[in-house]
């Protein structure tokens, strides 16, 4: 999808730099350091900027990479090329270990947790005998190809920047894929993603490992650039520094990581070499100025510099429309033992002393539109959450096609062919409508993260996007397909949610107030769409407040009041039911 041209130009420029006449060797050293920092920052971009998981501990993973190769090449005489995969495996597997503990932490626990183990590991590096304690390990062999040894900063330069560019490409490929969409949805909370089968803890662990492996790669390169390691560069300060490299560059952008690394490394160097000339004699002036500049930079561009720079470029509008002729195979239907799709029996949900849903029973048949209505606080959305596995019922049972699904998580419910929309729209605002809708087809794709990175997922991906485009067309939003979801009106966003739910290829569609915020014409279109879906064999269960809409559309209506079912029947009988009138209008109107 993205144009490759700027990257090729960038690669050519980077390749040409060492050959420029009069290039000071010191600049090459700086570029080496920028590349090393960029690798770590890139991982953080994915972890923090995209996935919303803040980590201070990345320096420790750099340390794992560096120490692994240092120990294996010096004590065991392994070739550095052999230790490369080992370094990556060590950082990756320790990431699994630490990740299992930490990624489930929410909000502020996570950064602080990573800070804590980052510090702990730093002290461990500096105390362990076989890692050389505070002195570290020296005399690490250089990288070599044949008889060519990469002894100088200029020769390892290529190894570093090839690594940076390849990593950037792989990372961008990953983001632009089925797995990538799941990762990008993480930051907005997990309920919506899980409703479409995304296993969020696994997705979080995945980005954690990705970031750690990139850090390990940086560490491996560092060890062979310096040819010596000691604990200092892997401490908490370094961990914090990597994080602000990512933030200064623009934490949501892969190239922001590279830009941030360039800014921070160059800034520190300039401050260290020129500041003493202006303010001679005083110790840590560069740290002071650096700290102040950091705060100032954030106040001027809180989103980071990369998006700020990009805002000067002409905006690229419109992407290619996916080829909708590609068909995605249908979700396998389980053989229906009964015509009852959904059976809710005496479902009850208590929050402490509050009974939100009080022994409610109803069912949804095949090819039927059932409306769930009731005044505010009647327990409609809670009922939805019980059915879709977001909440588990205190008592009672819920079965789908005769199978009990009481304790099933949302990911299992959606596999049965039940998909939903949300009362409060849960889209990822900085993803396009197409990408948001494609999340709905998550379970119908198969490409994993490795395939995505290597672009082996294109056939799978094209089918997913084709399906998403088809559903967008079906709900009538083709014009908005490539716009950011956050830029749509609230009513349109609700329609996008419906398209996303349709991507599941559901047998039962649960819609939570789909008509709220729609204009009259749009409501009529929505009603027509829902009727068409029913006639095509799908069932719909909807919560709605617009009585005109419900009465004209629903085959059957279930009325809740204060968590209890007070009536059920056809629209005509509900309209005249005295209990219902009382619930809505007070005592006999």
């Amino acid at each position: 999808m993205q144009s490759r041209l700027p990257i090729i130009v960038f690669a050519l420029v980077m390749a040409a730099i060492p050959h420029l006449p009069g290039m000071p060797p010191f600049w090459i050293v700086l570029l080496d350091n920028i590349g090393l920092a960029a690798l770590v920052a890139m991982g953080l971009v994915l972890l923090t900027g995209v996935g919303g998981l803040t980590s201070f501990g990345q320096a420790a993973f750099v340390g794992f990479g560096a120490y692994t190769t240092a120990v294996l090449t010096t004590s065991y005489g392994l070739s550095p090329w052999l230790t490369l995969p080992l370094s990556l495996v060590v950082s990756g597997s320790l990431a699994v270990l630490l990740g299992l503990i930490t990624v489930r932490l929410s909000g502020h626990y996570l950064p602080l947790g990573t800070l804590a183990w980052g510090l702990g590991l730093f002290y461990l590096f500096s105390k362990l005998e076989f890692l050389g304690r505070n002195d570290g390990i020296s005399a690490i062999p250089p990288l070599s190809v044949g008889s060519f040894k990469m002894l100088s900063p200029g020769s390892i330069y290529y190894a570093i920047w090839v690594a940076v560019i390849i990593s950037a490409l792989l990372t961008m490929n990953l983001l632009d894929s089925r797995t990538g969409r799941a990762i990008r949805a993480l930051r907005r909370g997990h309920v919506a993603a899980e409703a479409f089968g995304v296993h969020t803890p696994r997705a979080k662990l995945l980005v954690f490992i990705h970031a750690a492996v990139l850090a390990g790669l940086s560490g491996w390169l560092y060890a062979h650039l310096q040819r010596a390691v000691n604990p200092t560069p892997f401490g908490a300060q370094a961990g914090i520094e990597y994080l602000f490299i990512a933030v200064v560059g623009g934490a949501g952008y892969v190239w922001g990581g590279v830009l941030g690394a360039a800014i921070v490394v160059v800034l520190k160097e300039v401050l260290q070499s020129y500041l003493p000339l202006i303010l001679p004699g005083s110790g840590q002036v560069e740290t002071i100025v650096f700290g102040i500049m950091l705060v100032a930079l954030l106040q001027l561009a809180p989103g980071g510099l990369w998006p700020w720079l990009m805002s000067f470029l002409p905006e690229r509008t419109g992407g290619r429309k996916p080829d909708t002729s590609l068909k995605l195979e249908q979700r396998p239907r389980s053989p229906g033992q009964s015509s009852i799709l959904l059976q809710v029996e005496k479902a009850r949900k208590q929050f402490g002393g509050v009974v939100a849903v009080n022994n409610v029973s109803f069912d949804v048949q095949a090819r039927e539109i059932v409306a769930l209505i009731g005044p505010n606080g009647a327990g409609k959305s809670t009922t939805f959450n019980l059915i879709t596995g977001v909440l588990s019922a205190t008592s009672g049972s819920i079965s789908v096609l005769g199978r009990k699904v009481d304790k099933a998580p949302p990911q299992e419910i959606v596999k049965l062919g039940i998909s939903r929309t949300f009362q409060h729209v849960k889209l990822v605002p900085d993803m396009t409508v197409l990408e948001n809708v494609a999340i709905g087809a998550h379970l119908r794709g198969h490409a994993g993260p490795i395939a995505s990175m290597l672009r082996l997922d294109r056939a799978d991906e094209a089918k997913l996007l084709a399906e998403a485009a088809r559903q967008i067309e079906r709900v009538g939003l083709t014009e908005q397909m490539h716009q950011l979801a956050g830029s749509l009106s609230l009513g349109q966003q609700r329609i996008v949610e419906i398209a996303r739910a349709l991507c599941v290829d559901p047998m039962l569609l649960l819609l939570d107030e789909p008509a709220a915020g729609l204009r009259h014409m749009e409501k009529q279109q929505l009603a027509k769409l829902l009727r068409d879906l029913r006639d095509g064999g799908m069932s719909v269960l909807l919560v709605e407040h617009d009585m005109g809409f419900v009465m004209n559309l629903a085959d059957r209506i279930v009325v809740l009041d204060f968590g209890t079912k007070i009536a059920e029947g056809t629209p005509a009988t509900i309209k005249t039911n005295p209990e219902v009138i009382k619930a809505y209008l007070g005592v006999a109107a």
């Binding site: 804590a116 909370g189 908490a236 700290g291 500049m293």
Partner: protein
């Protein structure tokens, strides 16, 4: 193991733990109200300690000048923000709190520093100086970023930490300092010797915890702060000035930091960069307390202090490793018990 040693370690641990408890409380307070993870908390500790020690040694601490410089900066920020609607009262009020006040304190510091002032004066001056630094820092560095994400605030916090640590080296030099005991004298009870200093630590910690509890439970400002912590927007709609809440939180945090510093510096030699680690141990306690619970944080801090004391006796090499790794089981428990709540992030 020897009971005397055990009691001694326990006592040592509790003394340190009490300090971590105070710092942990301050961190929880600032985070809850402003969403800033206050990494410069450690600098408040060293600034308080070293200002006190310098004054007691009859030297002029640079922090007094820093307070004035930051105050002038805060005044400039105030003027800039209000540039469209400047009126006299606002300018005068800002001038008094941001410029006149630190100028007076600077003058007093210069006057007293020349004549080795009594301990009480040193404490008072150090507290006021660091309190002002905390207040102005909030105005300059954090208030303009109040609307941004926790991550951006965190990075800004790191920036402030770096700048303050660098300034610390400039003001106090690379050598460590010790200060005179706040309360001299000692008594023994059984095998244990209680110094006046350790008694002071206990008393002040308890007083502060009770004081904070009363402040949050009974006063209007305390309640406003709690309201801000729960819901910023809601608090603003209810007429609470969230900037004021932020200022109060920073003021309290800097006073607590400085006070902790003044209590430690007679016991341990402090260097310009000692604060970071001390603050981090407060963090550990705050995390164990879940960044929300004050009593839990206080208890956790005592545990941290005791674990540290024992591990420095039995495995001094691994002291820091053990303290920071203490978190892992706690985090593990918290992850297992974490409720599956939806969080909407901005």
């Amino acid at each position: 193991m020897n009971t005397t040693i055990m009691l001694f370690l326990l006592q040592d641990g509790i003394t340190n733990g009490a300090i971590y408890a105070l710092l942990g409380l301050a961190l929880v307070l600032v985070f809850a109200v402003t969403r800033v993870i206050l990494i410069p908390q450690g600098e408040f500790v060293t600034y308080g300690a070293l200002t006190y020690a310098s004054l007691a040694a009859g030297q002029m601490p640079g922090t007094a000048k820093l307070a004035l410089a930051l105050g002038i900066g805060a005044f400039a920020f105030d003027l800039f923000v209000a540039r469209k609607a400047l009126h006299g009262r606002l300018v005068v009020r800002s001038l008094i709190t941001n410029v006149v006040l630190p100028a007076i304190v600077l003058a007093l510091t210069i006057y007293f520093a020349a004549q080795k002032p009594p301990v009480a004066v040193c404490i008072a001056l150090s507290l006021v100086i660091v309190a002002m630094i905390g207040l102005y820092l909030y105005r300059i560095a954090f208030q303009p970023l109040a609307h941004t994400s926790v991550l951006v605030l965190l990075i800004a916090s790191v920036g402030v930490h770096l700048a303050l640590q660098g300034l610390g080296l400039l003001f106090f030099g690379a050598e460590g300092q010790r200060g005179p005991a706040v309360l001299s004298g000692a008594f023994t009870a059984g095998a244990l010797r209680f110094t006046g200093q350790s008694i002071t630590v206990y008393a002040i910690t308890i007083a502060f915890i009770v004081g904070l509890w009363l402040f949050f439970g009974l006063t209007l400002y305390g309640k406003a702060l709690r309201a801000t912590a729960v819901n910023r927007l809601g608090a603003r709609l209810a007429g609470i000035r969230t900037t004021l809440s932020g200022q109060i939180a920073f003021l309290l945090a800097s006073v607590i930091g400085a006070l902790s510093g003044i209590m430690i510096v007679p016991i341990t030699t402090l260097y310009y960069d000692s604060g970071f680690l001390i603050g981090l141990k407060g963090f550990v306690a705050a995390i164990i307390g879940g960044l929300v619970s004050y009593p839990l944080t206080a208890v956790a801090a005592l545990v941290v202090g005791i674990v540290e004391a024992f591990s420095s006796f039995y495995a001094s090499n691994y002291k820091e490793v053990i303290v920071f790794m203490l978190l892992i089981p706690v985090l593990l428990l918290r992850s297992l018990a974490a409720p599956a709540v939806e969080e909407e992030k901005d």
